[in-house]
Structure formats: structure tokens, C-alpha cells
Symmetry: C2
Subunit: 310 residues, 2 copies
């Protein structure tokens, strides 16, 4: 560790030279290759095709990349975290497939492509989601190597919690209940987002560090980092729904407004929303101070969240 | 172990005195109490209500009972297997909730009650299934005590496999593809049932023994036992769909015929189907011989499958 620090230049200089695009692109290639290998095409092909269609439909792969980054940051290896990273993307994809269904958000496009049920039918889309969710846990339990079994169990329990009624599913329920109610409270809006998107993001970040065997206080720092970027991510999402074009988003723009959904901009206005997002990103980055220059990827990812345009 | 064997009477006598109804009733009470505790009602209540509605809607609890039985049979305790037993019922319930959806089997009744989506709406029903599936894995990983972590991981991997595209989901896909095709082959019909219902049943039986630390050859015997009763169970299900009344089934009877579904009776006729089911049950029981009188619950459950009328 010390020798690595020594050959690096001081933090300030590193920050200015760290190439996030190259970092993300490199990791993205690794994650996509691992996902491609993780879901082979076998009988009955239709369900594997449907799963692969959505899992390999592009996207930033931010969740798996965050998991890999914290595992490396806290002394683990990419190999230790790759099965969990893949599982996180499977779970995220499951939530998108089910969220797009006619009985839910009824979306026809996702990442610029037809949604799963528009291609394979609702029945297969429901099953593809179920298949991905089950496979995610099987994949972590069966494929993780070089990590004590207790840590792997901790990761599985944390992920299950993040995606179930105590997390993502619970957030979606409150989101559904809040539809057509543009006057919901900030508390409810925060509940929706800390659960619907925040819980899984937090898991990505913390699970990487659990696999590496991080002490509790590092897990707490990383958890706070993740909660802050998670909320910032959602605020920026809300802002982009108003300001970005459909082409840039790769999905229907202006949906929140149309659905009379409460959003951060609708509660705070655009300018204040942007200020809050920036503040959250600064708070997130402050949590990383004790990790030193090794935390550059996470620092840069936090910045990236507020600077992105899709 | 020896002392327990010694206070038991010889196998033949035990078989004739073993009271399966009392055994099942006792276990059922324990499983229902554990399930009730496992899913407390908390905010957002609607999703927990929906999950509880279907999980606590009765049913024979055969899956968790099989898991508990094999764990005890192979030297483990009820406590070691109870979280997995509950998880198995959560997963089974998830599959029923999603299977009943309009986009799938479109069933209004299940176990004599309105199906989940008829009460809570399709969106909540989809999410309740997702929530149960995720929680099942969280519950095993977080609640199992007194079992080495490696075995718990093995159980999670096996269960994930049984419910995903390689198991239940894959079986459902082929089942959907076979709808309206009464002329599918026996091979396809077997694929559907060994995957749609067989894989999870096999997991129930084998996971109990994995938790107890059974040697590989015992796991294989129990696996064959489970595969045989799984297929017998399905054949009897097909027979009952023709011969039983809606009242006894607690769900719409005659659905297979209506849907022009291939079934064992449609391929073999009723009489041959009954013979095959009996033969499978005998083969299942033969696998238990080496376990001696301790295997009475599993012997009796195998018999129960062919003798049931709902």
C-alpha cells in the first residue's frame, strides 16, 4: 500500500489528471464481458434471450463499477467483487423490467430501446425479472471466490434487504401511492428516493467494502458517501427529466410532469435543486477524505453525477 | 443417535402407527408462526399486507415441512432449517402470485381466496412477489443460526438455481410456450414439471440435508426421492384437475382442459397416470430405506401425495 502511495503524485495533482472517462470505459468493458459470460444462451432460449436483452442493453454500469471501486479502495481485488458487481446489475435490470410493465410505469422505451415486455411480451418480462433476481443471489453465493463465506452471507443479506420491501420495492410502493399527488411532503419524496434508488446504490458501495473485509467505520463512511450521491443522483434525474431531450435520455422525457409527479424541482425549483445536488456531492466527497488519493475514482464518480446530461 | 433408534419400535410397526395428520398439523402450526413473525407489518403497510395476504393464506406448507423433515432426518435441528423453510414458502408464494397475474395464468382464485392482484392490484402483486423473493434470500442469509456459513451459501445457490431460469422460471416459460398445444411430447411435459414444480420441491428436501451437513450420497438419495414425489405430485395434480370439484381444490377446476393444455392424463389416460404416480411414490420410498425408521415422515408424505384429494 505504502509503495503505491509513494509512486503517486500528491492528491491535488492526481485529481486534475485522473481520467474518469477512461476509468469508466475500462471498467464498463470488464463488467459487460462478465455479464455476457454470466448469462449463457441455453434452453429454453426465450427466457435467456429476454434476460440478456435487458442486461446487455448498455447503460453506464455505475452500480457494478461502484462495487468494484470500493472493493479495490478497501484492499480487495476486482475478482473478489465481480460476481457481486454482476448481481447488482442483474437486480437493477430486474427492477427496470418490472418497473416498465404496463401495470407499473407503462414505459415503451428504456435506454433508447424497446422495453422488455414490448419485445417479449408481459409474461416473459415478468419471468425475466424473476429469473434475474433469483440468479443474482445464486451468482453471488456460487461464484464468489477468495472471500470468507461469512462476508458473502453479509452481502447477500444486505442486498436482499436493499431490493425488498425494506428497500427498492418499498420505495416503489410509496412512489405508486404518490402518483397524481403533486403535493406530497419532502419527507415522502425523500423516502421514495432513498428506498427506490438509494438503497441499492448504497449496497453497491458498501458490499464492495464488505467483501474486502473493511472495518465498521469505513463501511459507515462509505455508506454516507453512497447515501449522499444516491440522493444527488435522483435530484439530477428529476432536473434532467425537465431540461434534457428524449434523445439524450434514451427514454421518454417529461414523464414526471405529465404524470403530475412530485419531484425535487417541483418542490424546490430548478435552481435550488441544483444547489442541493452540488451540496450533497460535496458532502459525499468529504466522507472519502480519510482514504486519501486511492479514493479518486469515487471522488470523480461523485462529481460525474452532477455534471452528467443523461 | 443409537439411543433414539433403540427406543423406537421396529419399522413395520412404526409405519402403521405413524400419525401423518398430527405430524403435518404440528409442523404447519410451527411454520405459520415462524412466517407470521418473519413478515411484520410496517411502513409502507400496503406491501407488507400484500405479502402477508398470500404467504399466510393457508396451504399445506408441504415445502417447508419437507425441508424441516430432511434436516431432522439427517441429524440437524428444526431451528437450523426454519429460516430456509420459511424462505421456501416465500418463494413458492411469489411464484403463485406472479403465476396468477392477468399476463400469466389470469386466475381470480387461489386456495379459495381472491388472488393477490384481485385484492391489491397488479402493480402491488408484482412488487409483493419481488419483495418475497428478495426477502427469502435475505432471510436465509441473515437468520440461519448454528450452521457453518459455507452450507448456508450452498443452500442459497441451490435455491436461486431452483427458482431461476434453470428451474421454476424456465419451466414456466416452456409451459407458456406449450399453451394451446395439446400435442406436446412427454419429454416437453416432463421438462415443464421437473422445472416448474420439481426443482423447488427437490430444493426443499435437499436443502434441509445440506444444512444438517449430510454426505453427498445421502443428498443424492434425497434428491431422487424428491424428484420422484415431485413428478408424482404433478401427475396427481393433473388427475385432480379433471376429477375433483372446485370446492375441494380451492381454485378453478378443469382449467387445463379449458386451456387445451397437455397433461399426463391427456397423454396417458387417467388409469395409466394413476399407475405411474403410484410407481413413482414407491420408487421415492425405496430411496429412503437406508435411513431406517427415522424416515417415516418422508415415507408418509410420499404416500400422502397419491392419496390426497385436493
Amino acid at each position: 500500500m505504502v509503495s503505491i502511495k509513494n509512486i503517486h503524485s500528491p492528491q491535488q495533482e492526481e485529481e486534475s489528471t485522473f481520467d474518469l472517462s477512461a476509468y469508466l470505459a475500462g471498467r464498463q468493458v470488464q463488467v459487460e464481458a462478465a455479464l455476457d459470460r454470466a448469462i449463457p444462451l441455453t434452453y429454453p432460449e426465450k427466457i435467456y434471450e429476454a434476460m440478456r436483452y435487458s442486461v446487455l442493453a448498455g447503460g453506464k454500469r455505475l452500480r457494478p463499477i461502484l462495487c468494484l471501486a470500493t472493493c479495490e479502495l478497501t484492499g480487495g481485488t476486482l475478482e473478489m467483487a465481480m460476481p457481486t458487481a454482476c448481481a447488482l446489475e442483474m437486480i437493477h435490470t430486474m427492477s427496470l423490467i418490472h418497473d416498465d410493465l404496463p401495470a407499473m410505469d407503462n414505459d415503451d422505451y428504456r435506454r433508447g430501446k424497446l422495453t422488455n415486455h414490448k419485445v417479449y411480451g408481459e409474461d416473459i418480462a415478468i419471468l425475466a425479472g424473476d429469473g434475474l433476481l433469483a440468479y443474482a443471489f445464486e451468482f453471488i453465493a456460487g461464484q464468489t471466490q477468495g472471500v470468507p463465506a461469512e462476508r458473502v452471507l453479509q452481502v447477500i443479506a444486505k442486498l436482499g434487504n436493499a431490493v425488498g420491501a425494506a428497500g427498492l420495492v418499498g420505495g416503489q410502493v410509496v412512489d405508486l401511492e404518490s402518483e397524481g399527488k403533486p403535493d406530497i411532503s419532502l419527507e415522502t419524496l425523500n423516502f421514495i428516493h432513498t428506498h427506490k434508488t438509494g438503497a441499492l446504490l448504497e449496497s453497491c458501495v458498501v458490499c464492495g467494502a464488505i467483501l474486502a473485509g473493511s472495518p465498521a467505520e469505513d463501511l459507515q463512511r462509505l455508506s454516507r458517501y453512497a447515501q449522499n450521491i444516491g440522493l444527488a443522483f435522483q435530484i439530477v434525474d428529476d432536473i434532467l427529466d425537465i431540461t434534457a431531450t428524449q434523445e439524450a435520455l434514451g427514454k421518454t422525457a417529461g414523464k414526471d410532469l405529465q404524470a403530475q409527479k412530485a419531484t425535487y424541482p417541483s418542490l424546490w425549483g430548478l435552481e435550488e435543486s441544483e444547489r442541493q445536488a452540488r451540496q450533497l456531492v460535496e458532502a459525499a466527497k468529504a466522507e472519502l477524505a480519510s482514504f486519501g488519493p486511492k479514493a479518486q475514482p469515487l471522488q470523480a464518480i461523485a462529481d460525474f453525477i452532477t455534471n452528467r446530461n443523461h
